[in-house]
Each structure stands twice: as structure tokens, then as C-alpha cells.
């Protein structure tokens, strides 16, 4: 059961979005997230939703995979909606009970916040569903490089991410083994209240941690034996190269930014369309 968890949610198909340079995708996702917080009108959201749907269509990833991410943050969305609905002060009070009041402004604000959160999750899912974890770590290493001067350990961060990704399945396997071993000796993980359940995890966590440390030590030695000494004079087998399609994508991203600013301006001029 525990082995079935997939790491990274990469959806392996061949699409123009999959083929894009991970750095471009990372930049675009970043821009996309910023614009989500700049938009202040429903027209703006319609535009973003339209763009997002087009991108998803091109990526060939079934939309239900995109929506999976929303399920996990449903609680946050509901909570946000509730707070915004009843806590927003406004002039057109529709309903009031104690300190809770329902206003027209509140309804709009709640709606916008929910759309924002949903778009945020779906947008970042597009990135993780179309990019392999390695491409993503390589891109992060590359993008962090300029910050090295101010002491950001770009290479080390990327190496840590790679090793974490490499060892997640190994440690999951190990957890499974330890659980079975403890169950064989009569451990009970499923009954009791929350406190008891938490306590029953200790016999799993202690051996798991000990073995993780042992693995770390052995891995460090194996890495040293293979001449690892940080990123000094280190080369890479697969270099990231920008293709023509990557530049096209960047231009489209620029158009997108201009459009967002344009819509912002339009909604100032015509406030009645909200």
C-alpha cells in the first residue's frame, strides 16, 4: 500500500509543454502566480482561466489530474471563503447575525479569493505534471545561481533535492518493512485515540531515523569515493539549452503580462463590469 505513492506527479506524455525548457516553465509559473495577485476584476480571471485551459489542452494532461491537487487544499479554500464571506465589512449588508455579516463586497471578495487559490494550485500542477523532478531541480539550481554571491548554496540545495527524491522510495519501502516487523511482534497502529496512535508511531520512527542516518553516512562515503567535492569544476552530462520553442514561449509569456496589465487598466476605467 505504502509503495503505491507516486513521487512527483509527472505525467509522461509528449507535448509542446513537456518539451519546453524547465527554466522557462519555472519562470512562467512564477509570473503566473504574481499576476494572479495583481488581477482585481472578474474579466481578468476569465482571461486567466481561458489561458490556463488552453495551456492544459496543449499539455495533453487530462484535466482531472490537474483537479486532484485541489482536493488536498479543499479545507483551506472553504475556510478562506467562510472568513471572507462573513468577516468583510461593507455597505450593502444583506444579512447579519451577531458579529457575522453577509455583505455584497464579502461575496465578491470570497469568490475572488477562491478562484485565486484554485488557479494557483492548478497552475503549479501544470508545472509539476509536465516537468520531471530532475529537470525541475536542474532548473532551480540554474535560477538560484545568481544568488550564490549573497551566499545562497544553489548547488547544495539542488543536490539535497535530488538525494531526497532518490531516497523517498527507499525510505518508504523501509517504513513498510519496519511496520510489518513491528506488527509481527504485536504492535497495533490502527486502534486507540489520537494520542495512542501517535505513540504507536514511535517504534516505527526510531528505527527509521537510525537507518536514515546510517544510509546518509554510507552515501556520503560513496559520493566521496566517486570524487564528489561540491560544484567546484563540476560539469553536467545533460546541459540545458534554449530552443526556438522556448523563446516563442517566453514571447507568449510577455504578451500574457501585457494583457494582464491591460485588463487591470480597463477595469479601472469601467468599474461597473467589476
Amino acid at each position: 500500500m505504502i509503495r503505491d505513492i507516486t513521487i512527483g506527479q509527472f505525467y509522461p506524455v509528449d507535448s509542446p509543454i513537456h518539451r519546453l525548457d524547465a527554466r522557462v516553465k519555472l519562470t512562467m509559473t512564477f509570473i503566473y502566480i504574481i499576476t494572479l495577485f495583481m488581477i482585481n476584476s472578474f474579466i481578468g480571471y476569465f482571461f486567466v482561466i481561458g489561458t490556463l485551459l488552453a495551456v492544459i489542452k496543449v499539455s495533453k494532461v487530462p484535466i482531472k489530474f490537474m483537479l486532484k491537487g485541489i482536493k488536498s487544499i479543499m479545507l483551506i479554500i472553504i475556510f478562506t471563503a467562510f472568513i471572507n464571506l462573513f468577516m468583510t465589512r461593507g455597505e450593502q449588508i444583506l444579512w447579519q447575525w451577531g458579529f457575522l455579516s453577509l455583505t455584497l463586497e464579502g461575496i465578491f471578495l470570497a469568490l475572488k479569493m477562491c478562484i485565486r487559490l484554485v488557479l494557483l494550485i492548478i497552475g503549479s500542477s501544470v508545472l509539476t505534471l509536465t516537468t520531471t523532478p530532475i529537470q525541475l531541480t536542474d532548473a532551480i539550481e540554474y535560477m538560484l545561481r545568481p544568488f550564490k554571491k549573497i551566499g545562497v548554496p544553489a548547488h547544495e540545495i539542488a543536490m539535497m533535492m535530488t538525494i531526497a527524491l532518490r531516497f523517498i522510495p527507499t525510505l518508504l519501502d523501509e517504513t513498510d518493512k519496519i511496520m510489518k516487523a513491528q506488527q509481527a511482534r504485536g504492535a497495533d497502529f490502527d486502534t486507540g485515540n489520537l494520542m495512542q496512535k501517535a505513540k504507536s508511531l514511535i517504534p516505527i520512527l526510531v528505527p527509521l531515523f537510525i537507518s536514515a542516518f546510517r544510509r546518509a553516512e554510507e552515501l556520503a562515503m560513496a559520493m566521496e569515493a566517486r570524487c564528489y567535492h561540491g560544484d567546484e569544476n563540476r560539469t553536467r552530462m545533460n546541459r540545458m539549452t534554449m530552443q526556438r520553442r522556448d523563446y516563442h514561449a517566453l514571447v507568449m509569456g510577455l504578451v500574457y503580462i501585457v494583457a494582464i496589465f491591460g485588463l487591470r487598466y480597463v477595469s479601472y476605467l469601467l468599474p461597473f463590469i467589476i
Binding site: 527507499t170 560513496a222 569515493a225 570524487c227
Partner: protein, 288 residues
């Protein structure tokens, strides 16, 4: 020039002991004045039971440990010389026991590229070496797989490929088959033998499996940090009682031959394989 030459190689470390009077320090000698020489292209087996110091010796060859006393030269390079560490590690690659704890990357070919990448080799050359190493261990099919989906034997072959991509002259394997099933063990042993015969790579195999030790050109037996026996497998394994004294088994057929000799049956003491045993027994029938 000798591939590996050790002169009075000694390694000591301080062990902390928890006693009733607090912690006490105890000096432990893992290696005691080891002298040995390994020629280029040899297949040398280092035998010893757990805690005999054989792994400590392996780590010295890779300059992961520095000798307390004595000297160790790898292809003429002194392992005490800090500047030569990377050259030594490139010359003498190392494969460890646990296949899981020596693979770094999430994709097989990226992992094989790890060593050459650290050495600062040009990308096109790394690509070439990775493909070559994959072909040598016969794992081309798995180039883009995730290591976590492979069997133990396959993982160990990837680890060997990772060392091969660094173009070493010598590979030290520290109990590479100890955690594998019989199929994986066979795969790894075949790969090692092929590297030695076809590529001319010096192999130093650390093991406690006798059937593996039999395949070497020469055997060193280490006990309690000292080299106690050395010679060709036949010379070593015919001394059944002495080996048992060092906590080692002999190959099953050799043990049978030993017992037969004790019963007064005249067959050679240095039988290592079933085929040899069959031959010797048939010979016996002919003469009587």
C-alpha cells in the same frame, strides 16, 4: 609499477567505551603492519570474517582512510598525499556493499554520469562514457529507469558502471554481493570477471564467500588486522583446518575432499569445484 603496494600499513582508531566509571578510551588497531603487492590486471581476493579489518583495508585503497603508520601506494601515488586524493579515487574506484546507499541520482544514466561530472569532464565525453559503461554491464535497456525500480543485482551493476565511467585502472569491491540473492550474486560476479578478463581492470574483491574467492588469481586472508595467509586459491583452500581457525569456511567440495582424505581416501586436497571433484573421484575408481 605495482597497482597497489602496502608497506607496514597500520590503522588505529580510538574507541569510546561506556563503563561504570564513565567513558574510557581504547586504542583499536584495525590493520597491523600489512604488507602486500598487487600487480596490474590481477584479480585479487581479500578474505576475512566480520571485523577482520578487510573493509578498513578497502577504504585505504580509495584514500577514504589515511594510514596511521606505514605507507600505501596506488599506482605509485602515496595515499597520504592530500593533493593526489582525487587522482587516487579516479584510479581506484570503489563499489560498496549496500546497493541502495551508493546510488545518488533518480535516473540510472544520471547516476553513472555522477563520477565523470565530478571530475569535470566535457559533456559529450561523459555521454560517451555513460553509454559505454552501460553496455559493459549490459544494462542499456535501463538507462532512463529509476534505480529504486531495479533489483539488487541490477543496482550493483549500475554502481559498477558508475565506477567504470571514471575509467579506473583498478576497482575495489567491498562485499558487493553480501546483500544480494543468488541470481544477483551471479550477475555481479560475471560482470566482475568480465571486467578483469576483457577490460584488463585490476580487481580487488573483498568477500567472505568462498565460492567467489575461488575465482581469483590470488587470495589474501586477513585475520584481526593481519595478513595471515596468501597464495593461489588452490594453495589456500587446501589448508582446511587453518582456514577454519580464522573463522572461515572452505568451499563445500573442498571440505568434502578434506573429510574423504581424513577417511584415508587418496584424492588431491586442492579440489575447488564440483567438476574437479567428479574428475578426481572417477580417477579414483579407475586406479582401484
Amino acid at each position: 609499477m605495482k597497482m597497489v603496494k602496502a608497506e607496514g600499513l597500520t590503522y588505529e582508531y580510538i574507541k569510546m567505551l561506556e563503563t561504570d566509571h564513565g567513558t574510557e578510551e581504547e586504542k583499536v588497531s584495525a590493520l597491523k603492519a600489512v604488507n602486500l603487492e598487487i600487480e596490474k590486471g590481477e584479480f585479487v581476493v581479500v578474505l576475512g570474517h566480520n571485523g577482520s579489518g578487510k573493509s578498513t583495508f578497502a577504504k585505504h585503497i580509495n584514500a577514504l582512510l589515511e594510514p596511521t603508520k606505514g605507507t600505501l601506494w596506488i599506482k605509485g601515488m602515496n595515499t597520504k598525499n592530500g593533493e593526489l586524493v582525487w587522482d587516487i579515487r579516479q584510479t581506484a574506484g570503489m563499489v560498496f556493499q549496500n546497493p541502495d546507499n551508493q546510488l545518488v541520482a533518480t535516473v540510472v544514466e544520471e547516476d553513472i554520469a555522477f563520477g565523470p561530472e565530478n571530475m569535470g569532464i566535457a559533456p559529450a565525453e561523459i555521454r560517451r562514457r555513460v553509454d559505454e559503461a552501460l553496455a559493459t554491464v549490459r544494462m542499456q535497456k535501463y538507462a532512463t529507469h529509476s534505480p529504486s525500480k531495479l533489483s539488487g543485482g541490477q543496482k550493483q551493476r549500475i554502481a559498477i558502471a558508475g565506477v567504470l565511467a571514471m575509467k579506473p585502472d583498478c576497482i575495489v569491491l567491498d562485499e558487493p554481493t553480501a546483500m544480494l540473492d543468488p541470481v544477483g550474486r551471479k550477475e555481479v560476479m560475471e560482470t566482475i570477471e568480465r571486467l578483469n578478463k576483457d577490460e584488463g581492470i585490476t580487481i580487488i574483491l573483498i568477500t567472505h564467500y568462498m565460492d567467489e574467492a575461488v575465482r581469483g588469481d590470488r587470495v589474501y586472508v586477513i585475520d584481526d588486522g593481519e595478513v595471515v595467509m596468501q597464495g593461489r586459491p588452490k594453495e589456500i583452500f587446501s589448508q582446511v583446518e587453518r582456514l577454519q581457525q580464522y573463522g572461515l569456511d572452505v568451499p563445500q567440495v573442498t571440505e568434502v575432499a578434506h573429510f574423504l582424505r581424513m577417511e584415508g581416501i587418496d584424492i588431491p586436497p586442492d579440489i575447488l569445484t564440483v567438476e574437479e571433484m567428479v574428475g578426481a573421484l572417477c580417477q579414483l575408481k579407475l586406479t582401484t
